[in-house]
Symmetry: D2
Subunit: 354 residues, 4 copies
């Protein structure tokens, strides 16, 4: 099978680097274009990019010349890790020019014709694409978004519970890693020996995105899930990995802890059934120890694509409480976007690019 050519928009940033890393040696995709801002364009990636992932820069990417962020890239799909303010129009330009766009930015997440997809949670939302193309007059281009790095793993732990019991309300509190803010996001003097109980614009995203992903799709229309969600977002001194503590109540009465565990254990999402290359065998890893998950020990589970759950117990105010952890730039960003592309390819939704 010939590989599909893909590009990365915003290739030098925190999430951009993860895309480059995860695409190196990918069995289905070949990274043939790296694009970044004018400051970087025209220079070899090895020079343009201040690589800060602990595994080194892939050789092949290192030698590629960074290109400007505009259609004309030699590829069929682009993964977007652009800043939101840039992304809005640029991503539409790419889609209009016939590229498939898989975006991490919030730019189009709330558009009524853009699917916001976590491959395990709402693969059916991809059926919006033909409607989107029709409405926007795009022939083969499209935009598929993935969600915020907090909402995505949250949706994954909620999805089986919602199906089984119905979600009524939840309060989620996060302890988020520094990499989520980008390389220059949090100065070290603000990170060491500190907690910052605020992340600009973050709490506002969690509710709408989680409800859109856990909502339904039919007749070219999304119908958001109907529960109450309150978020407290905090920045802590971890490099990678977002920890979330959750208190949740169900529509169904008298649910036992065993039933909750069973709902999680028996979850068999589509990416795992299709055996997609980036799909973790076990999307939800449930640890029985009282002191797990831990950020450093569990963020790489399933190559950074699994969500690790622990400490399920009754909540004195809502029904249950638990904690989960996931890798924010893999599961919560680049990896999720690539998994969406794999899911589309496996379902024949990228045949226009062959």
């Amino acid at each position: 099978m010939q590989k599909i050519k893909v590009g990365v928009l915003g290739a030098t940033g925190s999430v951009g680097q993860r895309f480059v890393q995860l695409l190196a040696g990918h069995p289905w995709f070949e990274c043939t274009a790296l694009a970044a801002s004018a400051r970087s364009a025209g220079r070899p990636y090895r020079e343009a990019c201040n690589w800060f992932l602990s595994a080194g820069m892939p050789d092949r990417a290192a030698n590629m010349v960074v290109q400007p962020i505009e259609p004309g890239l030699d590829c069929q799909l682009v993964f977007s890790a652009l800043p939101a303010e840039v992304a809005q129009s640029v991503e539409e330009d790419f889609a209009a020019a016939g590229y498939g766009v898989l975006t991490n930015t919030k730019s189009h997440r709330y558009d009524s014709d853009v699917p916001l997809v976590t491959a395990e949670v709402n693969p059916d939302h991809l059926a919006m694409i033909p409607f989107q193309q029709g409405q926007r007059g795009w022939d083969r281009g499209f935009i598929v978004a993935n969600s915020n790095c907090v909402a995505m793993p949250l949706a994954m732990t909620l999805a089986p519970l919602q199906r089984a019991f119905g979600i009524k309300a939840l309060i989620v509190q996060t302890m988020q890693a520094l990499s989520g803010a980008g390389y220059h996001g949090v100065p070290s003097l603000a990170a060491l020996d500190n907690v910052i109980p605020f992340i600009k614009g973050e709490e506002e995203k969690i509710g709408p995105e989680t409800k859109k992903m856990l909502g339904s799709f039919s007749d070219g229309k999304f119908d958001d899930a109907n529960f109450k969600l309150s978020a407290h977002c905090n920045r802590v001194a971890a490099l990678d990995g977002h920890m979330e503590t959750v208190s949740v109540s169900f529509e169904a009465p008298s649910i036992s802890p065993e039933a909750v565990l069973e709902a999680w254990h028996s979850w068999g999402p589509l990416p795992q059934k299709l055996n997609l290359p980036s799909a973790p065998k076990c999307p939800l890893v449930i640890r029985p120890e009282p002191n797990r998950p831990q950020t450093r020990l569990d963020r790489d589970n399933g190559n950074g694509m699994a969500v690790t759950i622990g400490r399920l117990r009754p909540c004195e105010v809502l029904d249950f409480k638990y904690v989960h952890l996931s890798h924010n730039t893999i599961r919560g960003a680049a990896g999720a976007s690539i998994l969406n592309a794999e899911l589309m390819l496996a379902q024949g939704m990228l045949d226009q690019f062959r």
Copy 2:
């Protein structure tokens, strides 16, 4: 006025060192006895104690000889920072021998005749002491406890709200500092680049202690407050300072944010009225900025005795949410205990020791 002689039980540990630090130069108390385990007893404090506070060891304490933990110390009051398993009987021995015992340990917090006091929250609970002495046959000795370092600042931010609106339910999530676990509590390999969403025995304490402090006292009997409380406790990589995010609902309907702020601002607790030496002028510091409090920047407010509140906003599930921060070994432990002693002295409750 002659100073009252006080001793510290468990003087070499994390909280013990804070006691020694805060008692140095105290206007009303003079630290005349330091007691610690057999390993330390008989050695000068400077050698017995691995001092790790950033301000150096007080000179006078440095030269004192550490004594065994048993009655016979040359003092009238003892502040106890003993491990819980040791504290239970030892503290009773001291009280029986005529010492006033102010304890940080959980050993007697739940006893039906031991007041669990945060000086600003429930000073009236000290009226239990004569009942306690009568019941236990102690003539002038007594045991007064202060609460867990999470419950205490929580009770302080809740007290004015409870009075004004009644508390119905709350969910609190903590990001607690390493010093709370003691010097050897958390290995550095478990702290760096990590979050541990579990602190042994901690969540179980928050509810009962908060409800006892916010409960009432009459006729020699405590009546716990009657609301629902759920706690998620986490350990993060900060040296000192516990951050807590709170979602709370009230008995009274339709409370405005302005009313909540007004309840906090107008709070005028007894220790401040009495102008006690350790009472912070402003027990609740309310910061208007979206990104405050922060652990490193706000833990020393009011010499470590103030609780700093921020980010009051509506909660989508309960009524309001906010965040507060306090210094866990000062406000949450040693400082609170000393403040209790000051409150007793100012109210004539220590006259038996003059």
Copy 3:
């Protein structure tokens, strides 16, 4: 005695904040002007400045309006914490306009007529000022520099040894705190779980500055000390406090460790004799324990103005090795600059401003 009015140039940065903090309540100086870049000028300091020191912003400074960095400030002395590229001409403008300039920047450190002074080490270098004024045609203005935050404590530990034994050669290796790079200097992703063995432009400063300070002054001319110095500079994950390990050889043969300790202990520099407000009682604190100094435990010795020495022992290659620690933004910057001003005032060198 009426206080002398002083201003701070670059008042919003890392060192600028320390100036503001240390000048609050100063017995001899009154801070009447805060100046910063165009972005900040015209706004109240409380808004213009992202204050990140753990003790809060001084009330009085908070309400001052930040002014542009140009002569016309209502003060007689200015303390400069400007970026080097800005400082060069601005500082000369201020001196020409009749201000006394005490600068932390490297801009004029190597000028042949600018004294580079550590008050304890080379107070006699201040006698250059009349020559400087004559040469530059300044009537009462002047520029006095203090050194880099590594060279200054190094010069302090070397000064007594140089006098007693003569320095032949030394190798110094540093482990420097994050605050030395300014608030935005080191991203958290570069600081946590990392060491960066490079600080741009730093190693080049250590030799020339240390030799100038340990050199002599006569007849309007500085004569640098004549020893070999090699520096390895590293950034580590500490907030404040530079640790330096030193291997040194002497001109004099067969020096005993006792003689070295005696040289340090018997050092009695001028600021201490004059009992200057910012002079630490003990400028060199010598700790006997094998595991001291430590950054967090010792940086605040002498209110951040002392240098703490430890681990003196023979060196297998040079003669001796030891380690010292000092607070980089107090002893190594703002505090040292203020101490220089105090020294000048105490010696009548600021009488033109009365």
Copy 4:
């Protein structure tokens, strides 16, 4: 080829866990025995071991039952990560009982008949084994040691220079990771926002071990290299990876930086020639950037087995200075030990076990 059975002594500790990790899936060795102290013996490894490496515990090891540390283990070789005080006699017992012992502990490093081997540096020292066996009356058992985690990478960067130019003297200063002290070695309160310029017993090891490895072997006798070495050892807040800054002088005069680089680049040690499974392709990775190596970015080079060098430049006191970094529990401990075993097997020195 049938795999050789190997065991790990001290399997639950910091270095023991690395052995277990690196031996999982090893092409030549099969880990069939895990031994640890009485507290752990008899329990499954998954329960006995508080695994703290970020990749999870290997499944097969997880299910093995931990055995007591005494001969009788079902294997031919043992890798020892025992505490030094235990290792001394136990390792001799194992060798006497016919096991090949490859040890990380300092117990036998200085014995006149025990080779202290870094596979790339002094593979010829293994020829001591028959002498050792003869002297001690062991038929097929033996003891081969590897060095301290600081001395090993140091010997690697020095070996090509010694051969080319002769080493005259060197001063090495280290910034060592927390994992070197073991899981409970450094409390978090001693690690965060701190540097500890002291590691008990460490500086004393560097000279003797480096000189033994860089010395010669002939006629059953080791002859240590004859240069002067001075070490400053420091603990910093990094999880894994020891950074070392080196100033060195050569016997040969007037060496150019190009010659030094050439000596490193042209180094072709035996493990690489033999293509041993754990030998990094490039044992010395030389980075041209001014700000490399960095601990977090470079410690995993060559799967943690390479030493990364940077910043070669003239030294004002000795001849040159540079910095190098290596992974302390892989290159500096478990990985080096396994590489020694591979080297022996490839040279037929383990044929007695087939």
